[in-house]
Amino acid sequence: MNYFVKGNPDLCIGCRTCMIGCVVAHEGKHIFEVDPDSYSFNPKLHMVKTANLSVPVQCKHCENPACMAVCPVGAISQKDHCIVIDTEKCMGCKSCMDACPFGAINMTVQTGKFQADGTEKKVANKCDLCYGFSGGPACVRVCPTEALTLVTEDELGDAMERKRAEAARNAYLETHPQE
């Protein structure tokens, strides 16, 4: 099963540290020291604030990802529990963006890269669970209120098992009220 990071609206304070953490992780820690035009500020998760909730939304790393299915150039693939975009292959057609029901994919400028007519090159951008970096997803690590968790197969499986057992116990008690 693919892993994914999910936010808990009860804990989130909407501070967007996760977004900054995401950029810092993906661009390397030196972004505070280098020319601002030399790096891309492309958070891979999006803070949503409505009247009654604040929470970041990011890729669910679906098991049957629509984004992967629609990509005409095979730039989206499954790797070690996550769905990743190969930005070298991506040509910014936005099909995946249109296909994703969560709005987890956006198009971002690739700093320093241009199209043939000199305009900015933009490619698809989404959570890659900090694929290839040590320490796991940066957003989870930097959240001041621990509102983000990495959901793994084991954890989800355990939770489901626990819930099933609870449901079974409850059903049993229904027919054996004396116990």
């Binding site: 936010g7 949503v48 969560f102």
Partner: protein, 187 residues
Amino acid sequence: MKKEIGSFVVGDSTKCTGCKACELACFTVHNRKSNHLGKTVGTVTVPVTPRLFLTKFEQGCMPIQCKHCEDAPCLNACTKGAISRIDHQVIVDAEKCIGCKDCMQACPFGAIALLPYARDGRLVGQAMSSEPKVFASKCDLCEGIEGGPACVRVCPHQALRLVDPEAEREEKNIRAAEALLLTKNWR
């Protein structure tokens, strides 16, 4: 200051009947001025050159048109500089196009066709050939045409949709966030 990306039109094969009203409307609005089209068929004197293409496949049909890619292969492939990005949209300059077919090969959607080029109600000819000049015909999102994409407007089944990708993404974000409210106690 705002970061923007290009809009595009997408078809919905579950609604499309394949009537080609979109193709005809596309041709009509794009040739209204350049080829003096009126409102009726009788005013047309040039071949129909749509910028989107009704496509049949095993399970149904739908129009296919340009996605206005943000790193557009057609644009990058065009050695003649006939394709450029104007107001976030990928636009072909038909006058500059020499019909080299590179853009067609680069486009993974087949969203470009080489079609006869007409001006002032007449096909444009070329020296040393009886064949008319052609141009790379692709969706320009009805740039400069009042009312926005004609295909979307004329579709009798609302099978075409103009996508504002960023706005739609934000809306989908909200729905996803609301789902998180329901799943927050997943453990």
